[in-house]
């Protein structure tokens, strides 16, 4: 797929990517996913998103070719690739902050490298394609365990790992009341992960009934549709005995669809990096001294966050892009034990040629879409 400008993408023939660094691999993509954060690109909200770019940071495939310096992978290996591109040895990687690698993104120091996520994250083409260049092939990808199928694996490359990481950033202790804003894939996984960490009550907030239904069945959560309440913050206070939640997880990010002013200034006029409606609800609805975890995607531009309230309430705000590979060993165990079944949330399987339809359905939230997968044309 290639980006053609806001709200426009199409399938197009491009050159097969070449090895540009001795530790590169070329992966033939079997399965990719469209992610909620791809919509920031699709809507033209992420700076330096260039016409002709290929999106897609969630993909699995087979190693087609390796550079001369690659030791850990061979042609024919079935691999899953974390959405972060990282070197393994810089100051950040050495301390496990793979999402903050300093050696892969010349365009910015504030964010690491990500596949198919504009030039702001390094200018790499993504995996919604037949072939993709994978830098630092000895470091990023893992061979998919035999017992795991591609659909589960592709969800571990971002969505599940990020959801779990979000719950982890909440520092949940036994019995905590956890509220998750957003019942997209990441929110659903975060809600589910909160139970693994011992939450006493998990509440999910969204505006789409079909996603809330999924939150009830898949994530065993208590759910509320914010469009049915004058003020969702007051409602959350009421149902927590006027204390507020102990932990809030923002799994929405900068494109929250809450109020019209935010919608106009950010989504339409691009005056904000995104409307932090969900984050502000999180700040308002937790108890004093609570922890807020943010892993919905936010861009580099100014957002009107209610910092004063966060200060006065003594909140702890924790956030980052998920260092995916650090989550894998534990998540593999949970998948194997049946505690987490990643592919349960997949609703659509769309051929690569129909990528424009895929983006439209996902962006407009049509046809009960929760997670669309993109099936490579060659397979």
């Amino acid at each position: 797929m290639v980006y053609r400008g806001p709200y426009k993408v199409r399938a197009e023939e491009k050159d097969i990517p070449a090895i540009e660094h001795p530790n590169d691999a070329i992966v033939r993509v079997a399965l990719a996913a469209i992610c909620g954060s791809d919509l920031h690109l699709y809507h033209g909200m992420m700076p330096d998103t260039r016409v002709g770019m290929t999106f897609g940071h969630e993909f699995v495939g087979v190693v087609e070719d390796v550079g001369p310096d690659v030791r850990n992978l061979e042609r024919g290996d079935r691999v899953m690739v974390p959405f972060n591109i990282f070197c393994g040895t810089c100051w950040y990687c050495a301390r496990g902050l793979y999402s903050n690698c300093h050696n892969v993104n010349p365009n910015a120091t504030a964010v690491g490298g990500i596949y198919g996520y504009s030039n702001t994250t390094g200018g790499y083409d993504g995996g919604q394609a037949e072939y993709v260049r994978v830098p630092f092939a000895d470091v990023g990808p893992s061979v998919i365990p035999d017992w795991m199928d591609d659909e589960d694996a592709v969800l571990l490359t971002d969505a599940l790992a990020t959801g779990y990481f979000g719950a982890q950033l909440g520092d949940i202790v036994e019995g905590d009341v956890v509220v998750v804003f957003g019942a997209g894939p990441v929110g659903l996984y975060a809600a589910k992960s909160a139970w693994l960490m011992g939450a006493g009550r998990v509440i999910v907030i969204d505006h789409l009934e079909y996603r809330l239904a999924k939150a009830r069945t898949f994530a065993h959560a208590e759910t509320y549709n914010f469009t049915e309440y004058d003020d969702i913050v007051v409602h959350l206070k009421k149902i927590t005995d006027h204390l507020g939640a102990d932990v809030a997880i923002d799994a929405v990010g900068a494109e929250a669809d809450g109020n019209l002013i935010q919608h106009v200034t950010s989504a339409k006029l691009k005056l904000q990096g995104g409307s932090p409606v969900a984050l502000n609800w999180a700040i308002d609805s937790v108890r004093k001294g609570a922890t807020i975890s943010v892993m919905g995607a936010y861009g580099p531009i100014f957002s009107a966050v209610k910092f004063g309230d966060a200060f006065n309430k003594g909140l702890t705000l924790r956030m980052n892009q998920c260092p995916v590979k650090r989550q894998w060993p534990r998540l593999f165990e949970h998948v194997r034990n049946g505690y987490l079944k990643p592919s349960d949330i997949v609703t659509h399987r769309i051929p690569l040629e129909h990528i424009a339809e895929g983006y439209h359905i996902f962006s407009a939230k049509l046809d009960g879409c929760i997670k669309p997968l993109i099936v490579a044309s060659s397979s």
Binding site: G5, Y7, K8, R10, E12, G44, D48, R50, V51, G52, M53, R71, I85, G88, T89, A94, R95, G96, L97, Y98, H102, P106, N107, T109, G113, N119, G122, G123, Y124, D125, F136, D138, V139, Q168, D171, G175, W195, L196, M197, G198, R201, L208, T227, E228, T240, L260, K268, I301, R326, Q327, P329, L331, H334, Y339, L340, E357, H360, A364, L366, D367
Partner: protein
């Protein structure tokens, strides 16, 4: 009750939750959670066998943030800057740090210019931009799109009415301004005997 020291009681005990939810409490102990503690030294370096990676060859001049000391050893090569949008992008990277709003706003402006440039250029190719297929609206008919739009309290419906105004508004305003300016200029040049000249004569 909040106004006393007691926590509000939960409706379910930990044992009830453990019985109801598969895996409840599996990671109750923070030590079982990955990336705890945050800055733990990574012994295995996840397979890296270098101290500093070999450098990817630079073909053409690669733009970079001025907050970086040098071009990072690995970088993406998708869509090098070109055209007017390329000029804006290069300017933004050369002049402004990531801390400056101008950096990001210039890049966003360049994105809009880039889209127009490509849109215009596409009409010179065998495959011009097609607003019907590229926006994917056909899925509204092929994949239950319309039926899922109707009769539901969808949050995006309320501003669908407003969107055309918000999107088209600035364009109409700019168009009006351009039209007005052009008309003024034309009137000035069409007028028999320019005003400036007349004034000069009378003085």
């Amino acid at each position: 009750m909040t106004y006393t020291s007691k926590r509000p009681p939960l409706t379910e005990s930990s044992d009830q939750l453990r019985a109801r939810i598969p895996g409840w409490g599996a990671d109750l102990d923070p030590k079982d959670r990955p990336s705890v503690p945050k800055l733990r030294w990574q012994e295995d370096r996840t397979g890296a066998h270098w101290e500093f990676p070999e450098r990817q060859p630079e073909r053409g001049r690669r733009e970079r943030s001025i907050e970086h000391k040098f071009l990072t050893p690995v970088f993406g090569t998708s869509c090098p800057p070109r055209g007017l949008s390329g000029v804006l992008r290069r300017l933004s990277y050369r002049k402004y740090s990531e801390g400056r709003a101008a950096h990001w706003l210039l890049l966003l402006a360049a994105d809009r210019v880039d889209a127009w440039e490509h849109h215009a250029r596409s009409f010179l190719t065998l495959r011009p931009d097609n607003p019907i297929t590229e926006t994917g609206v056909l899925s509204e008919f092929s994949r239950h799109g319309v039926s899922s739009r109707l009769g539901k309290k969808r949050a995006d419906v309320k501003h669908q009415m407003l969107d055309p105004v918000i999107v088209a508004g600035p364009w109409v305003a700019v168009g009006g301004l351009v039209f007005g300016t052009v008309r003024k200029v034309l009137r000035r040049s069409d007028a028999p005997g320019p005003r400036g000249a007349r004034r000069r004569r009378s003085s």
